[in-house]
C-alpha cells in the first residue's frame, strides 16, 4: 500500500467517523425542531381557547375570568373561570392539581354564587390564607387578592 493511499484512507476514516457524528446530530436536530413545532402548536391552540371564555362573558369590568397561579411549582398556570366550582388540592381528581407538599389532597374550593366568587377551605391540614389571614369556612374572594395554599399563591384575575 502506497504512502498516498494510506494517507487518504487514514483521513477518509476520520472523515467517515465525523460524518456519522454529524448525521446523528442532524437527526437530533430534526427531532428537536419537530417537537418544538408540536409544542408551539399546542400553545397556540390554547391561547385561542383562553380567549373563548372571555368572549362568552360580556365585558363587565370587575368580573374575574381566570384563576392564575402566581408562585409555586405551577407558576403561570391559568384556569378559566366558568359557572362551576374549582377544587384545588393534590388529589388527581381536583380541578387544579397542585404539586405541593404542604397542600392537602382536597385543600380548598373556589366557587361562584351570584356575581361573586367565594373561597372555601376544606379543612386542610396547613390552612388556606387570604393575604396573611388564615380563613375558616367560606369567604368572598375578589380580583387580585392573593390566596396562599401551601407554597402556592393564586389569585383571580379579570
Amino acid at each position: 500500500m502506497s504512502e498516498l493511499t494510506f494517507t487518504l484512507l487514514r483521513l477518509g476514516y476520520l472523515a467517515l467517523l465525523w460524518i456519522f457524528v454529524l448525521i446523528a446530530v442532524g437527526v437530533l436536530r430534526r427531532d428537536v425542531s419537530t417537537r418544538a413545532r408540536l409544542a408551539g402548536g399546542g400553545v397556540r391552540r390554547n391561547r385561542n381557547a383562553t380567549v373563548k371564555p372571555a368572549k362568552d362573558t360580556p365585558p363587565a369590568p370587575p368580573k374575574p375570568t381566570k384563576l392564575t397561579v402566581l408562585s409555586g411549582s405551577l407558576v403561570g398556570t391559568q384556569v378559566p373561570l366558568t359557572a362551576s366550582s374549582i377544587l384545588i388540592g393534590r388529589a388527581p381528581g381536583c380541578t387544579l392539581v397542585i404539586d405541593d407538599d404542604y397542600a392537602s389532597s382536597r385543600h380548598a374550593r373556589i366557587f361562584p354564587q351570584g356575581d361573586q366568587w367565594f373561597l372555601e377551605d376544606l379543612n386542610s391540614t396547613n390552612g388556606t390564607f387570604l393575604g396573611d389571614q388564615q380563613i375558616h369556612g367560606v369567604v368572598p374572594l375578589g380580583i387580585g387578592t392573593a390566596v396562599r395554599i401551601g407554597r402556592s399563591v393564586l389569585e383571580l384575575q379579570g
Partner: protein, 563 residues
C-alpha cells in the same frame, strides 16, 4: 372496575366543566359539602368501552419507520467493517483471517437488535443503537489491530470480543423482550439493592473471588472470570431509583436551612452513609478505586436527580474527599496510585513496580498520535500494557489522533444525551430517575477512565464502555442500553396525557376550555400527581391490559422531585 388511575382523570382534571360531576353548575351554595367525592371514585365507572373511546385516537399515531436508525446503522457498520479491512491490509497486505466472521457478526448484531427494537420498542430513540454499535465496532477494530500486531499485545483477542458482543446483544434483546414496562423494575427496588450489594461484595468470599492485577474484583464461575461489580451497578441503579423516588419528600424537604442551602436531616443521611461505607469497603478490601468512585458518583448523582438538592452533591463531595484523604494516608496501594498520578513523569516512579509506566507510555502514545493520528496499524499502541482494555483509549488516540478521539467522545456524548433526554421526556418519576442514573453511569464511567488515562484523575481500573476488551463490561453496558431503550420507548410513545407544558383537551371536546400552562419558558406541570398512593395504584393496575393502553395511564408528568 379496578382501573383507577390518575391518567384517566388528568384530561378532565383541569376542566371546570367536568370537575364536579353530579353538581349542576351555578347552584353551589357555600354550605354544600364539597362536590368532589374523590378522584378515585369518579373514573372507576370507566368501562372498557370508555377506554377505547378515550384512547380511540391512539392507533392513528404512526409508528416511526426508523429510517434514521437504519441509515446510521449502515454507516456504523461501514466504519466498523472498513476498519477491519483497513487494519488487515495495512498490517499484512490482506484481509485478516477473521474478517468475514467479525464483519458478519457485526452485521448480525445490528440487524438483530434493530429488528427486536422495531417489534418490541417501536417508539424508542433511533440514535442510541447505531451509536453503541459504532463504538462497539471501533473497539473491536482496535483490539483486532492489537491482536494482529507482530510484536503482540499479549491478551488481545478480537474474536473473543466479537463473541462477547454477540452474547451481549442476545442478552440485551432478552431484557428488552422480557421487560415490557420499565416500571416493573420498581417492584424489585429492595431485591435489587440486596442483589447489588451481594454482587459487589462477592469477590471477597474466599474460594470464589480471585485477584487479578492486584484488584480483588473478580469471581470465577465455571472456568470464566467475571467482574460482578459491573452487574452490581445496574442493580444498584434500580435500587437507588426506587428508593430515592419513594423517599424524595423526606430527602428534599426535611432538614435545617443554612444560608441558601437546605441540609437534610441526620436520619435521612443513613442510606448515604451506608453506601459510603460500602464504597470505602470496596476501595479498601478489593483495592478497586474505580468501582468505589463509580458507585459513589452514581449514588450522589441519582440522589441529586431525585431531590434537586445541591446540598447532597456537596455532602457527597465532602465524603469522597474525606474518604479519599483517609485512604491515601492509610493504604499503601492507594497512595501509590496517587503518587503515580501526581509524579507520573518522575523516572523513579515510572520504573517502580506498580508505578506510572503504563500511564506515561499511554501519554506518549497520545502524543505520538497528535491531531490526526498515525493511522490504523502504523502506531505502536502495543507498547502500552493492557493497551486493548484499560488503555484502549490511548491506543485509539495514537492511531486515530485527537480528531478520532473527539469523534468517539461525541458519539458517547450522543448516547448519554439521548439517555438524559429520555429522562426528561418520560412521564413517571421512577423512570426519570432510572434513565437519568443509567445515562449518568455511562458518562461517569467514561469520565473516570478517560480522566485516568489522560492524567486528569488518578488512574483506576475502569474500562471504556463498549470498547475495552472484556466480556463482563460489554455485557453489562449492553443491558444498560436495553433498559434505556425500553424507557425511551415509553417516553416517546404518543400519549393523550399532557406532557410538560402541554395541555390536554377535555375528553376531546375542545370547546370546553383549557388550562394554559407556562407562558414563561419554564412550563409547569399541569396535572402531575406525584403522591405515592397514586403511583402505587398504578403499580396495582391489572396486568391483562394490553401494553398500549396500559402505558397511557401513567401519571402525567412528574418532575424528578418536588420543588
Amino acid at each position: 372496575m379496578t382501573v383507577t388511575s390518575p391518567g384517566f382523570t388528568s384530561p378532565g382534571t383541569l376542566s371546570p366543566s367536568t370537575s364536579s360531576p353530579g353538581t349542576s353548575p351555578g347552584t353551589l351554595s357555600p354550605d354544600l359539602s364539597p362536590p368532589m367525592v374523590s378522584d378515585t371514585s369518579s373514573p372507576s365507572q370507566a368501562t372498557p368501552e370508555d377506554l377505547t373511546d378515550i384512547f380511540g385516537a391512539e392507533p392513528t399515531f404512526k409508528k416511526p419507520w426508523r429510517i434514521a436508525e437504519i441509515f446510521l446503522l449502515l454507516l456504523a457498520l461501514g466504519i466498523g467493517i472498513g476498519g477491519f479491512a483497513m487494519v488487515g491490509y495495512v498490517m499484512n497486505g490482506e484481509l485478516p483471517d477473521t474478517f468475514w466472521l467479525e464483519s458478519a457478526s457485526m452485521v448480525g448484531i445490528a440487524l438483530f437488535m434493530h429488528l427486536v427494537i422495531r417489534f418490541v420498542a417501536p417508539w424508542a430513540d433511533q440514535i442510541i443503537l447505531p451509536a453503541v454499535v459504532l463504538v462497539n465496532a471501533l473497539g473491536i477494530v482496535m483490539i483486532l489491530r492489537l491482536d494482529l500486531a507482530p510484536a503482540g499485545a499479549a491478551g488481545a483477542n478480537a474474536i473473543r470480543q466479537t463473541q462477547w458482543a454477540a452474547v451481549s446483544v442476545v442478552v440485551a434483546a432478552a431484557v428488552l423482550i422480557i421487560l415490557r414496562e420499565h416500571r416493573t423494575l420498581r417492584r424489585f427496588t429492595y431485591t435489587s439493592g440486596i442483589v447489588g450489594l451481594i454482587l459487589l461484595l462477592s469477590p471477597m468470599i474466599p474460594g470464589l473471588g480471585m485477584e487479578i492485577n492486584g484488584a480483588r474484583i473478580w469471581i470465577q464461575i465455571a472456568g470464566m472470570s467475571i467482574q460482578p461489580g459491573e452487574f452490581a451497578k445496574i442493580f444498584l441503579a434500580i435500587f437507588f431509583a426506587g428508593y430515592f423516588f419513594n423517599n424524595r419528600d423526606n430527602l428534599t424537604l426535611a432538614g435545617p436551612k443554612l444560608g441558601p442551602i437546605q441540609f437534610p436531616r441526620f436520619r435521612d443521611l443513613g442510606p448515604i452513609l451506608i453506601v459510603w461505607v460500602a464504597a470505602i469497603a470496596v476501595l479498601v478490601m478489593q483495592s478497586d478505586m474505580g468501582m468505589s468512585l463509580m458507585l459513589f458518583g452514581l449514588f450522589v448523582a441519582m440522589l441529586y436527580l431525585a431531590t434537586q438538592r445541591f446540598s447532597w452533591v456537596l455532602i457527597g463531595f465532602c465524603l469522597v474527599g474525606a474518604g479519599g484523604y483517609f485512604a491515601v494516608q492509610a493504604f499503601p496501594h492507594v497512595s501509590q496510585r496517587f503518587d503515580g498520578w501526581l509524579h507520573a513523569m518522575d523516572p523513579a516512579v515510572i520504573d517502580r513496580a506498580g508505578g506510572s509506566f503504563q500511564l506515561v507510555s499511554g501519554l506518549f502514545g497520545l502524543a505520538n498520535g497528535g491531531l490526526l493520528g498515525t493511522g490504523l496499524g502504523h502506531g505502536h499502541p502495543y507498547l502500552v500494557p493492557l493497551s486493548f482494555s484499560d488503555f484502549i483509549y490511548s491506543s485509539l488516540g495514537e492511531e486515530l489522533g485527537l480528531t478520532g478521539l473527539l469523534a468517539v467522545l461525541v458519539v458517547f456524548f450522543l448516547i448519554v444525551e439521548r439517555g438524559l433526554r429520555t429522562a426528561i421526556d418520560v412521564r413517571d418519576g421512577f423512570g426519570k430517575v432510572l434513565a437519568g442514573g443509567l445515562a449518568f453511569l455511562i458518562a461517569w464511567q467514561l469520565f473516570i477512565i478517560v480522566g485516568g488515562v489522560t492524567r486528569l484523575l488518578p488512574l483506576t481500573g475502569l474500562t471504556v464502555p463498549f470498547m475495552a476488551q472484556g466480556g463482563t463490561s460489554l455485557l453489562s453496558n449492553w443491558i444498560v442500553i436495553a433498559i434505556l431503550i425500553r424507557i425511551s420507548n415509553e417516553a416517546r410513545r404518543p400519549s393523550i396525557d399532557p406532557g410538560l407544558g402541554e395541555v390536554a383537551p377535555v375528553n376531546g371536546d375542545e370547546s370546553q376550555g383549557y388550562v394554559v400552562v407556562g407562558q414563561s419558558d419554564t412550563p409547569a406541570i399541569v396535572s402531575g400527581s406525584p403522591s405515592n398512593d397514586a403511583t402505587e395504584m398504578m403499580d396495582a393496575l391489572p396486568r391483562e391490559l394490553p401494553p398500549d393502553e396500559d402505558a397511557t395511564e401513567m401519571i402525567a408528568p412528574v418532575s424528578g422531585g418536588t420543588q
